[in-house]
Subunit: 269 residues, 2 copies
């Protein structure tokens, strides 16, 4: 049982929670809560920290068994005194379980798996962790095949992103690019994927285009929208019609509406 | 110029920010930021507080003029020392303007304006301020005619709701009901509005129903979904199809997808 906040492992978790640099160096990120433990892929589970109170319940043993990891219990499980555990938790009422998960690196090719029509989200400098998490969760639901992020976007392993993905972060392939313009645009052309940018001056409403073939939606930064450079390079501009005095939708909401329109068309085609 | 945090007006604003009870008693709520000032209806603007730094810029005079309130400057405008203003702001970098706005009470009838086909959101015990704000903003964009909330839902005048509405809170008619079952369901029947509940066991996908006639969507609490009682009273269950291992969508996202599907059908009908 870990009983002190000055324990080396506790300090390491705190660093992993706070600093994306430390996460990258260690190749690890922190996923908190029962659902995130339950859905964690067995082969990427590095460590599981249980609060004293949670350790007394049997459920974690069950989950370990489901993952086929019962033999590794000693190496994987650490119990942490409730008081100390609380200092690690982002939430007011921690569920008492926190995992260290190995990152995985996807290649661009993994975002367009064979047998599936590509449906990609290309996020330029997205900043809000809740928005990114919601795009991952909704994107998995809508059948998005992969997410591409500009290098200045929020870190996908930020604890607030992780939480709002509700587990989709384990499953959704994603790729950070050094340059959407230089790396991604030529690749989209090569793959015959059409790039759509939401734009107030789009000729067609978003539901008047055909997304049953390879599709990529460009989504911009929350404050500034898509950069001029990138929106001019998109193949097609689309409008999300807005009544009243609404000037724009939240970035995650706009993404969700576009992704589910693509999903609707593909189901009905 | 107000220079002390113990000033009576400053104390009142702090109470209005924190306590929904005080807001109800005073019939006032707080709206922060330049956009919220710009969009505030002239006849509901009670007071405008400017930080010293912001007061020096001319823009607030312009906005007051646009609203036809230049003569009321003395009664409406108060300048607050920057240091004191900061204690009122919810944000890290306050824009330096904060308004007190008179609440308005809508009747149910105002949620179904003549000449428009009703499109209503009925929210049962929604708790997250960001979700409610996003539903208002997206709802205005999608042409929602009104929002009905159960009395245990989050307060629409909570500062976090206000901020995420981006001004829609001024324009979207809404109504808090003491009972969805007893007050709203009979009223929907009387108005010939069909009630749709998102439900995992819905026979039809949400895009297979017709929302071009009077439509109400029932949305449940973030943690528990729609109550059994209410979902059983809905006219039609609909499913939002989800791929992968996604079990549910965020409440605001589910709302947005449904509202924009109704909007799409109405545009194309």
């Amino acid at each position: 049982m870990i009983t002190s906040t000055s324990n080396g492992q506790i300090k390491k978790i705190q660093q992993l929670l706070k600093k994306s640099k430390v996460r990258r160096e260690e190749g690890l990120f922190v996923a908190e809560g029962l659902k995130m433990f339950r859905e964690a892929p067995a082969d990427r589970l590095e460590k599981v920290y249980l609060s004293g109170a949670f350790a007394e319940k049997g459920i974690w043993k069950e989950i370990l068994r489901e993952k086929g990891l019962e033999k590794e219990e000693r190496e994987i499980i650490e119990v942490v005194e409730d008081k100390v555990f609380k200092t690690l938790s982002d939430t007011v009422t921690p569920q008492g379980v926190l995992c260290l998960i190995k990152m995985r690196d996807c290649t661009l090719e993994e975002l367009v798996p064979e047998g599936k029509v590509p449906l990609l989200m290309i996020l330029e400098d997205l900043q809000d962790p809740g928005n990114l998490g919601t795009i991952l969760r909704t994107g998995e639901g809508a059948g998005v095949t992969g997410i591409i992020l500009s290098k200045n976007s929020v870190d996908i392993y930020n604890p607030k992103v992780i939480r709002s993905t509700m587990g989709s972060v384990y499953r959704m392939p994603f790729y950070y690019t050094s340059s959407i313009q230089e790396e991604i645009l030529p690749w989209l052309r090569e793959k015959k994927i059409t790039g759509y940018a939401a734009h107030l001056e789009g000729k067609n409403s978003y539901d008047q285009e055909d997304y049953t073939k390879g599709t990529a939606f460009f989504i911009g930064n929350e404050g500034n929208g898509l950069s001029r450079e990138l929106s001019q390079k998109a193949d097609i501009w689309i409008r999300i019609p807005m009544e009243g005095q609404v000037e724009s939708l939240n970035a995650a909401m706009a993404s969700g509406i576009l992704m589910y329109e693509a999903s609707r068309q593909r189901r009905n085609s």
